[in-house]
């Protein structure tokens, strides 16, 4: 059990290219489930591999349990890793796969077998599978063997590189909760990489959002959702995504769909102090409340996606070229072509500096 710290950790691949990981500062508490999330190329996998010792650092350092491990080889860091494609040893049986690290540590055979059986039990892996080779297993079984190989180690830190991405959707949802529960039970510090923000939101104690090698925000899922610090995080977290649009400032608010939408004072003050004439307005789909003709924003429904419980309305607001997405009740959604109105509360909106992307008065 240990905490993990990235201190100004940097990784550069090509000399003149931007860093893959740019001066990352991240503190992960002992026993925490930390998710690194971001689009591909954001540096999340590189950051994980730096922690594993599979990528060298070009700047800064990495600490595990207050000890600087930047130049320590992977096998001496007391970590275990679950790889995206599982990386099971093809010539070995499931039991041998799981016991391999222990064998390297010269753990005696009975102890190895005991720990393997226990890990198999924890993961709901049938004992009969222990003597099979990976090629004879299904994708879901292989995934569990990969997890088992990590658990058996009883390491200080678990590293997981998109372990669910090769599973089909249903299995993914099922395994997601199993992993989260397992981690709670074992209490081992876990760093988990994914590109799927739903996984991030449901599994992590805290989530670190990365983009372009830089940490955007590290917070609890709730905070990320309610208080994104910049436009990227706001647009990345939440599904369907937040509606973002550049709008001109007007008296006490912004001009949208032919009217002036009032914004909180703090926002307008921050905008004028920054000398802005326009800003990026963000409204989450569920904050666009369908109003029976009384709403201040008018528009025409272009497409209705009926999801059963909810419906997603794609609406073209009056005088705007972009479309926005609004969430409505599923049973009686409006029809395409229909004119609708929406009510938005000023305190539900988000505003971002169009140049820097930073949140205005958050």
């Amino acid at each position: 059990m240990a905490d993990v710290n990235y201190i100004q950790a940097t990784r550069v691949y090509a000399k003149d290219a931007p860093p893959a990981v740019d001066a990352l500062d991240l503190d992960i508490k002992d026993g925490e489930f930390m998710v690194l999330v971001g689009p591909s190329g954001s540096g999340k996998t590189t950051a994980l591999r730096m922690l594993a010792g599979l990528e060298p650092l070009d700047g800064g350092r990495v600490e595990i349990g207050d000890k600087d491990v930047t130049f320590v080889s992977p096998k001496d860091r007391d970590i275990a890793m679950v790889f995206q494609n599982y990386a099971l040893y093809p010539s070995k049986t499931v039991a041998e796969n799981m016991a391999f690290a222990l064998k390297m540590q010269k753990v005696p055979k009975e102890e190895r077998d005991r720990r393997v059986r226990e890990a198999a039990r924890l993961l709901d892996l049938d004992e009969k599978l222990l003597d099979r080779k990976p090629k004879a297993l299904s994708g879901g079984q292989r995934q569990r063997v990969a997890m088992g190989r990590a658990i058996v180690r009883e390491p200080r830190v678990f590293l997981m590189d998109e372990p669910l991405s090769n599973l089909d959707a249903k299995l993914r949802v099922q395994t997601r909760s199993q992993i989260a529960e397992l981690q709670r039970r074992l209490g081992i510090t876990t760093v988990y990489v994914t590109h799927d923000q739903v996984e991030a939101m449901t599994m992590g104690n805290r989530v670190a959002v990365l983009a372009g090698g830089k940490l955007q925000q590290c917070d609890t899922p709730r905070q990320l959702y309610d208080n994104p610090v910049n436009q990227f995080v706001a647009g990345f977290i939440g599904s369907p995504a937040m509606n973002l649009q550049t709008v001109p400032l007007a008296d006490g608010g912004v001009r949208l769909a032919g009217i002036v939408l009032p914004l909180p004072n703090a926002v307008t003050t921050a905008a004028s102090r920054a000398g802005l004439s326009e800003l990026v307005l963000g409204i989450r789909p569920e904050h666009m409340h369908l109003a029976d003709g009384t709403g201040e924003l008018t528009g025409e429904v272009v497409l209705v996606e009926d999801l059963g419980a909810d419906a997603l309305l794609h609406v073209r607001l009056a005088g705007e070229s972009n479309q926005v997405v609004a969430r409505a009740e599923g049973r009686t959604p409006p029809a395409p072509g229909q004119q609708v109105t929406f009510h938005v509360r000023p305190e539900d909106t988000f505003a971002f500096n169009p140049g820097t992307g930073a949140r205005l008065a958050g």
């Binding site: 594993a52 010792g53 599979l54 080889s73 992977p74 096998k75 970590i79 275990a80 890793m81 790889f83 995206q84 494609n85 990386a87 099971l88 040893y89 093809p90 010539s91 070995k92 391999f100 690290a101 390297m104 540590q105 080779k133 990976p134 090629k135 190989r149 180690r153």
Partner: protein, 313 residues
């Protein structure tokens, strides 16, 4: 994933396209195969049948009167011939030593070439070249410029080690021939093993690193099992080619001194060219073929995985 490794090595399964069992369809499928099939049968089986026929004949080129039936006497002679047995033994000796040494060197060279370093491509090209040299040229090259007792390069290079003007082709004839075989076939083994090394998934090696395996442990526990089908393929194919080595024997030592380097191909050549004994050579040839079939069947069964005739992965 063991078979997934070996499947990269196996003869791939056919793409089965069932198209109804009509006779027309069956003939349409057969037609493209026929030219090659008929050609091969005519050019390879007919000579074999003729060989079989002649093996029961007494037929010497230099004797007038042509061929006449002699039953099994040629075979009796082959089996009682010390020269044939010696040639057989020599063939086994030469093939086994050359194949094993070439494979060991091949693994070493492949390991060296698997890492990145400056000029890796150039080194690889240098290592493959001996295989591309015309075997006749290689044989003459080693016989003359390399191994000559009076002005060969090898004697010069070994001088600091106290070696003086050794007549390699006289005193170490068999070794010299085997060295040339190894020199020419190590690249073959190297390339096959290298293909095996490069097909090993890199994340498995990283997992081993994280699991605490050092370089030696990783090689022993992961790489060698992965390489097994490739090594088997190399040994199998290398043996098939090396059993038939002729150029080096003929051009370096002419089978000598005496018969110390006479292998089966050379023995058969001598029977035809020096003894003009077509009947005897034919019988020896038939015995050789039968022996080859036995060994090949045995080897194929041993290495069945490599050619995966039975079903898919």
């Amino acid at each position: 994933m063991a078979v997934t490794d070996a499947s990269a090595v196996a003869a791939p399964e056919t793409r089965v396209r069932p198209r109804g069992a009509s006779r027309k369809d069956a003939w349409q499928r057969r037609l493209p195969l026929l030219p090659a099939l008929i050609y091969t049968i005519v050019v390879t089986q007919i000579p074999f049948l003729v060989t079989l026929w002649y093996s029961f004949q007494n037929y010497f080129f230099d004797t007038p009167g042509g061929a006449h039936w002699t039953g099994l006497s040629n075979y009796k002679q082959v089996f009682s011939s010390a020269a044939f047995r010696s040639a057989l033994l020599r063939t086994v000796e030469m093939t086994v030593s050359a194949v094993l040494v070439a494979m060991v060197l091949g693994v070493v060279f492949a390991l060296l070439l698997d890492r990145k370093f400056i000029g890796r491509g150039v080194v690889r090209t240098l290592i493959i070249t001996p295989f591309l040299i015309m075997p006749a040229a290689a044989a003459l090259l080693w016989a003359g410029p390399m191994l000559d007792p009076n002005f060969g390069l090898l004697n010069y290079l070994l001088q600091p080690f106290g070696v003086h003007h050794v007549a390699w082709l006289s005193t170490h004839a068999l070794g010299s021939v085997i060295v040339v075989m190894i020199w020419q076939w190590t690249p073959f083994m190297t390339l096959i093993v290298l293909a095996g090394l490069q097909s090993q998934p890199s994340d498995t090696l990283e997992a081993a690193k994280v699991d605490g395996a050092g370089a030696l442990a990783t090689f022993r526990e992961l790489t060698l099992p992965h390489l097994r089908p490739y090594i088997e393929l190399g040994i199998l194919l290398g043996s098939v080619y090396l059993v038939n080595v002729f150029d080096a024997v003929r051009l370096m030592t002419d089978g000598g001194p005496g018969t110390t380097t006479t292998n089966l191909p050379f023995y058969l050549y001598e029977q035809v060219n020096n003894a003009f004994d077509v009947g005897g050579a034919a019988a020896a040839g038939v015995v050789t073929v039968i022996l080859t079939i036995i060994v090949a069947t045995f080897a194929l069964r041993l290495f069945a995985r490599v050619f995966q005739f039975e079903g898919a992965n």
